[in-house]
């Protein structure tokens, strides 16, 4: 398996796992958790899709990679990045899916809180 497929495979696996649990599990908390896992899987596919090249262990450098690294180094006030161990350098992900995933994370925590409030109310009624 090539490196470019590691994260998409993980994302697809997470989606399958979450859907299986959603279909077979009767427990509310676990279902809400499966929903969260499903969202992570979808986000992983989205972020892995919008990339020029996933891994640059071979030392290929692309415009997006340079831009991504610029973004990271500018924060530290460095003009030129150090070159020790370039193996972990990678292209920046596509900003549009990044923005979607970012808003998705915040919306999902709100939805989780609302669902949890609902589950707690239902549970409390059960117990009484």
């Amino acid at each position: 398996m090539t490196p470019d497929l590691i994260y998409p495979a993980a994302g697809a696996g997470l989606i399958g796992l979450a859907l299986w649990r959603l279909a077979t599990c009767g427990d509310t908390l676990r279902r809400i958790m499966a929903l969260n896992v499903l969202a992570v899987g979808i986000a992983m596919l989205m972020l892995a899709a919008g990339r020029e090249t996933l891994m640059l262990a071979a030392g290929r450098e692309t415009s997006t990679l340079a831009a991504g690294r610029d973004t990271l180094t500018r924060a530290a006030g460095q003009d030129t990045p150090q070159t020790a161990g370039a193996g972990f350098l990678q292209a920046a992900a596509d900003p549009v899916p990044q923005a979607f995933v970012l808003t998705g994370i915040v919306v999902l925590v709100a939805v989780t809180a609302a669902l949890m409030a609902l589950a707690e109310r239902l549970g409390a009624r059960d117990g009484d």
Binding site: R69, L72, T73, A75, A76, Q78, P81, Q82, T83, A84, G85, A86, G87, F88, L89
Partner: protein, 83 residues
């Protein structure tokens, strides 16, 4: 190259808390395992930053460190009587 192997080692140290997380037996054991994995994650991020020469990642590690205790605190403060 050395730093990349060390980053891999830090990731493995993070994953090495899994046996205790699975075995328990007490809830406290499992939360302690998650807490330890949090520290491992912070170390992994620092090493990713050192290996690529991007100190911006150190800021990210700081965010992780600042929030590392919230869930542990939630565990002790919420009683955690459920097993």
């Amino acid at each position: 190259m050395m730093l990349e192997f060390l980053a891999l080692g830090a990731l493995l140290a993070t994953l090495a808390s899994l046996p205790r997380l699975i075995l328990g037996p007490r809830p406290a054991d499992r939360i302690a395992a998650a807490q330890l994995a949090g520290t491992g994650t912070i170390a992994t991020i620092i090493l990713l930053g050192a290996a690529t020469g991007t100190p911006a990642l150190y800021d990210m590690a700081l965010v992780f460190a600042a929030l590392a205790a919230v869930t542990g605190l939630a565990f002790v403060a919420l009683g955690g009587r459920s097993s």
